[in-house]
Point group: C2
């Protein structure tokens, strides 16, 4: 494996603790490719052929209902493994993945990765911890959808992007996708931003500024235990 690729692998949470030998073994036969924005990486219902890891760029996990509706489950970026459960269980994907901004993606053959998991305890541990982290993200989102109203969800999301602190934030992707991630329409997102203006949130384009984090936190009952 080339040195550049090796460095990227090590920056991944999944391989942060891994030995060079392991990285070499797992990475054998792996393909690294640069994928342009808007590419559909994999589609809901397919059987997983590869494990995907993002080295750079941004992707969106999309859920699709049979009647054509589409929503964003979560954004993932550099260092994230995505839709690993389908690979682990060898079960059809529950969602599709689309590249949002040009990304470098590592693809590891599914069966090869499962064998690697079976052979290496450390890798399995890293995977388990990564799944645990994602599990908590999903639970947090379900709580959001059930307990918060649209403008509060936006407020909480903005805060979580910045670790609960004030400052300037770069939104992950367009507002259409952000709206879907938050479980609302683009129109509602626009109105939600308006609502937050009085709380010190000013935004133009994909750059948003939080002026007063304390006020925003109390507005959405922000809980940073994630």
């Amino acid at each position: 494996m080339p040195a550049a690729e090796y460095a990227h692998f090590s920056s991944t949470r999944l391989f942060a603790e891994a030995s060079p030998q392991l990285i070499d073994r797992v990475g054998r036969g792996a393909v690294v490719q640069t994928v342009p924005a808007h590419t559909l990486l994999l589609a809901q219902g397919e059987r997983p052929a590869h494990l995907h890891i993002a080295l750079s760029g941004r992707v969106g996990l999309l859920g699709r209902s049979p009647d054509g509706q589409e929503t964003v489950i979560e954004f993932f970026e550099a260092g994230d493994v995505f839709v690993a459960p389908a690979v682990i269980l060898d079960a059809p994907y529950l969602m599709s993945v689309r590249v949002l901004s040009e990304a470098r993606i590592v693809m590891i053959e599914a069966e090869h990765f499962r064998r690697s998991l079976a052979a290496d305890h450390g890798l399995t541990t890293a995977m388990m911890r990564e799944l645990s982290r994602h599990w908590r993200l999903l639970v947090q989102q379900i709580k959001d959808l059930k307990l918060r109203r649209a403008p509060q969800r936006l407020a909480a999301y903005l805060l979580s992007l910045n670790g609960g602190r004030a400052g300037e934030i770069a939104l992950p992707g367009g507002r259409r996708d952000l709206a879907a991630r938050l479980g609302m329409t683009p129109e509602s997102l626009s109105r939600a931003f308006n609502e937050l203006k009085s709380l010190g949130v000013s935004g133009r384009g994909s750059a948003v500024v939080i002026a007063d984090s304390a006020r925003l936190q109390s507005y959405c009952a922000f809980d940073d235990t994630v």
Copy 2:
């Protein structure tokens, strides 16, 4: 470990593939207790002291917002490990767990369990697979909340309880909790049941009968890839 307890452990997915030695080692110092309904097992925000596994009965994972609102994230029953991610990552619970119907619960000291994970590859693998399964449940629920309307969510949930087939179904717990799990109020749940009557769903109390599964499936765009 007593023979009865041993049998229970083996029936758990987490320990289904485990050797007697491992079960004995992990179970050392574990406490098995019978917990009456309505007991709060653990509370959101606490730091995990034990890993919990249900041997029988039924529990509900509850999310609570700081303003007192409460919702049901998921039901778990015999054989399920719950809120393992908090134990694995040694992070505060994201939710509370309440016993819904009298349950036998195994409690394994958190640090002891983490050591067991570190010592045994097979246990880590089982844990990883269990997390993968739960991950898919949560993703499915997020898709539900974002893409389906209330009566459709009920239809899809009823079908999923019965593997997509027709027949009689026992609801997990009262209708108040079911409503919360589905992201609606008890009133809306009642109206949703009314809506489904014309589709062949008849229910009294906590027993519900699906007459025509095909019709219900097309109504809610049921997708059994879970």
